[in-house]
Symmetry: C2
Amino acid sequence: MSTDFPELNPPARILLGPGPSNVHPRVYRAMMAPVIGYLDPQFLQLLDDTQSPLRAVFRTENDLTIPISGTGTLGMEAAVYNVVEPGDTVVVCVNGFFGTRIADMAGRCGAKVVSVKAEWGSVIEPEPVEAALRANPGTKVVCIVHAETSTGILQPLEEIARIAHEHGALLLVDAVTSLTGCELRADEWGLDVVYSATQKCLSAPPGMAPVTFSPQAADVINARRVPCASFYVDVTMLRAYYGEARRYHHTPPMTMLYALREALRIAVEEGLEPRILRHRRHAEALWAGAEAIGLTLHVARPEHRAPPITTVRVPDGIDEMIVRQGLLAEHNIEIGAGFGELQGKVWRIGLMGYASTAQNVLALLHALETQLSRQGFRLDKGAGVAAASRLLNTA
Amino acid sequence: MSTDFPELNPPARILLGPGPSNVHPRVYRAMMAPVIGYLDPQFLQLLDDTQSPLRAVFRTENDLTIPISGTGTLGMEAAVYNVVEPGDTVVVCVNGFFGTRIADMAGRCGAKVVSVKAEWGSVIEPEPVEAALRANPGTKVVCIVHAETSTGILQPLEEIARIAHEHGALLLVDAVTSLTGCELRADEWGLDVVYSATQKCLSAPPGMAPVTFSPQAADVINARRVPCASFYVDVTMLRAYYGEARRYHHTPPMTMLYALREALRIAVEEGLEPRILRHRRHAEALWAGAEAIGLTLHVARPEHRAPPITTVRVPDGIDEMIVRQGLLAEHNIEIGAGFGELQGKVWRIGLMGYASTAQNVLALLHALETQLSRQGFRLDKGAGVAAASRLLNTA
């Protein structure tokens, strides 16, 4: 048995892909805390402790703000399934992979799905959303992705929230890649349902999906005609455990809650604004460096780029997979491939949470230069790291 | 901030409740392995590594044997939602809390649910199951719980599997509390869908739910008319990631997979048969000790008791909550309360995985004697530990 099932020994990578990102050392340490029972007074205290920083990172006062016991896709399921029921009309903004996924889920809930489409790499404009709402009176929810991990787009939300509310609809937002890495103001911007995940800018392992529901979203949930299609993420039951009743619903993953708690503690200690600025500063250095190498960023306008996830076009004549394999094998760096409409066309470079550092920007640019040169790509060696370094020094 | 959000410091309890059980030290260590990407060749190797021991503990050759990315209740949802679709007839055996929950889930999938009921503390007999199948021709699935954590019942399965198959139905089994703690033979007994969890007899933290589908169950899934009501646990997509295609579906919780892998490795090293015997030996010592104290076991017939979870009746005149609070505060031992129909009537004592030890049996009996005496319960001090000790010495 020992030969085919040896001790686990995965390498310590530099994770600059679309997630998971590198886990903060303090989060690893927190996960060593002993597992205790889900009704242990000390565990219930931990649940209460986590509420306030969870609301802080979403910038919300929403009472119904809880971590869902799964990874980001289950957060999406919790968000969609709790507010959507059979026969509802749902407008889904689709300009990347995760918008497509929201539409799939809304369909499984029995909704009539109206898609508002844009190119993979463009933002969703307010006008077609308004047109879709005018054409579909009684629409219950508008769904949109804040930072599209598949395209690198950072989506403006305030105007679309205003339009959704004017038409009596909720706004549901995917903040998986943006939470604590981009400006996100749930209450001020009027976001009704927002979900995220632990393995992106929070720098904990994947395993929990924080989600928050506005009072308006809670009203919609309270007025459901049929129960939530999923039992596991039904917040009408979850709130009886996370709230005062402490009624058993399912055993939560204690170790992942320990990780989330420590990740939130680190984020609150750093401060949300400095943390968001850090993500932007390092992303801007990456963008400058990539352009100095001679690469093109897929999202043309800087204000539409999500700092935690940058899409870089694969130059003509370059085998994108060999570049990624070289980065992993020789530099121990993971970056992501494009997929869906962008398969083979872009690389996806994450600078998230603990991994958003000047050192990682320089290490990646250096490694990229090495790998691209080897495939005959003409570049001025050192130009990328120099451009990045100049920006980082002025910060 | 530091005062209301201090460093996490939960106590190291002796966990003898219905789960989570104590995590094996080697599993804690495995969770310190660095998180890496979900398409990293080393991570994919880990997924492959885990397949063989996962099949071994279920005693199955089923190709479709994967860990679901959530806790036990999500395993239940994965099992039920993948084989049940709107309009199906489902027979659910209900003799405890988790049978009730399966019925709830099947209802959310749009099934016609036929309940076969028995007392909370009795097994389900084959005859009423057969009667239900005769009365409902075309029934698609029979659902049943192997070790009912709410009652302590160990359910015989072979005869009911035979009957289900005779009527063209699948047998779906909840093995959350029985996996590696009780004899369980998926293939030999004809179990079509079996799910479990990591935090019981596997002694990893909660966070993954192993599930296995027989070829017959896979055929049912392949023949679905509508997609699985849940996206997150849709095995038609999950198998494209866990299988050779390696198509992204969701980011799995790496750390929990590391934990599961190490827990499986420990179980395989111990050997399934010795491990199951260990659970039985320590449970029998607990039963003898509890009876020597003067307590009554809720499940009368020993062959119907699930060794990992024992229900003990609360004697007249004893405040069950004060006993539990005393165990926790003075002895650092957690046991569980009764709930549902057994609320206030029983305690639930778990001896699961790493926590199924002679030391824990003696520690609990000693502590129980102390707490019961304090409430005026008349007992012969030391009789419980003596009875248990005698049995343990002959082992």
